[in-house]
């Protein structure tokens, strides 16, 4: 499989390409979010994207073919050549092998984890049954500020045609970490063009469902009951502030950094987090990586302490 041609979100369990016999890509159909593997899919949406591909195919016959780049095969990755045996390579492993190679070459950058941002990251909710139709625009988002409105039809994003959620996600995946992004759409039959102004951090998305990221996402080995509002008040904390008491059973990893049974965990790195214990564990998994150094903020015997630790 030529990864230059079939360039897609390799963590997915299902994705379709529409292309010509000469490997000119007309579109993609697929994609998901952290809620579920099928939330963004529908047969109507697939048919809509397929019809758009047929129209593109008919039009493409009149245009010269753009010569494809040299094939890129996963077998060429150094980390693949080193492995023993000939077991099958799963799609998500393409990401893992690529990351190992880039880390070994000193090329890997932390922001590379934010792959395939959701259209919602720029303020667009797309219709599941018609992937280029804007169902909703988040107020004060880049899309809102560019002038898009519910009911508009997306035409191009990042200079790529959009007929599906998969098309939009691919266009956003190829977008810069910040700066302007070209967008064109149709509003009440009128062609519109504009720019989405992307701020630092716009790509950030929940990665916890991605199999290729499992070894990057930390698991905080803490557990206990949330304090009652009265208990929080007694410690000088607001009602919604994170505060939970570590269970009598303390995981070995937590013991190593100094956590004791009965410690009250109130946050990390001095952040005033307003959430429950369960939400805190998810917060760490969504916002930090294995290897990050943090300071766990706790209360022990009425005194506040910071416990330095490396996330694993």
């Amino acid at each position: 499989v030529d990864l230059n041609v079939f360039d897609f979100d390799y963590d997915l369990t299902w994705l379709a390409f529409f292309l010509s016999a000469d490997e000119q890509i007309y579109g993609r159909y697929g994609g998901r979010d952290a809620k579920g593997a099928e939330d963004r899919l529908s047969l109507d949406g697939l048919e809509y994207a397929a019809r758009a591909a047929l129209a593109a195919h008919a039009a493409a016959k009149e245009r010269p073919l753009v010569k494809a780049a040299k094939p890129q095969l996963v077998e060429e990755y150094a980390s693949v050549k080193r492995r023993r045996g000939h077991e099958c390579i799963h799609c998500h492993q393409v990401n893992e092998f690529r990351r190992v190679d880039r880390k070994e070459a000193g090329l890997w950058r932390r922001e590379e984890i934010w792959v395939y941002p959701l259209p919602e990251n720029v303020g667009l909710t797309l219709d599941v049954k018609q992937g280029d139709r804007v169902q909703a625009v988040t107020p004060d988002s880049p899309a809102d500020r560019a002038g898009l409105r519910a009911g508009d039809l997306l035409r191009r994003l990042n200079d790529m045609p959009v007929h599906s959620f998969g098309d939009a996600q691919y266009a956003l995946h190829r977008a810069p970490v910040k700066g302007p992004l070209a967008i064109s759409w149709q509003h009440d039959g009128k062609a519109m063009i504009g720019r989405l102004e992307l701020a630092e951090g716009w790509r950030k998305t929940n990665l916890t469902w991605r199999p290729s990221m499992l070894d990057l996402l930390p698991s905080l080995t803490l557990y206990g009951d949330d304090l009652t509002p009265d208990e929080k008040k007694a410690l000088g904390l607001t009602e919604n502030r994170l505060a939970f008491r570590q269970d009598p059973q303390v995981h070995a990893e937590a013991r190593k950094v100094g956590v004791q049974a009965g410690d009250v965990i109130i946050g990390l790195d001095g952040q005033a987090l307003e959430m429950t214990m369960q939400q805190f564990l998810g917060f760490v998994r969504r916002n930090y990586l294995v290897g990050d150094r943090i300071k766990l903020n706790i209360v022990r015997d009425g005194k506040r302490l910071d416990l330095p630790m490396t996330l694993r």
Binding site: V1, F6, F8, L12, T13, W14, L15, A16, F17, F18, L19, S20, A21, E23, Y26, A50, A53, L54, A55, H57, A58, L73, V74, E75, H86, E87, C88, I89, H90, C91
Partner: protein
């Protein structure tokens, strides 16, 4: 290559899309689509018929 090729061949479904613009027959009923599992074969059929490809990774 073999590892990926094998897994891919097991995981890829390929078919050619009917092209109404080229006077092709109506879409096949569900379950009647002539799926192919070889990419090169599918490209050859697409080239012969002038139809685009639908390639599914699953």
């Amino acid at each position: 290559m073999r590892g990926l090729l094998l897994s891919s061949l097991l995981g890829i479904g390929l078919t050619v899309l009917p092209n109404p613009a080229a006077g092709q027959p109506a879409p096949a009923k569900a379950g009647k689509t002539p799926w192919l599992t070889g990419y090169d074969e599918a490209r050859a059929v697409a080239r012969q018929t002038g139809k685009p490809l639908l390639v599914v990774f699953r």
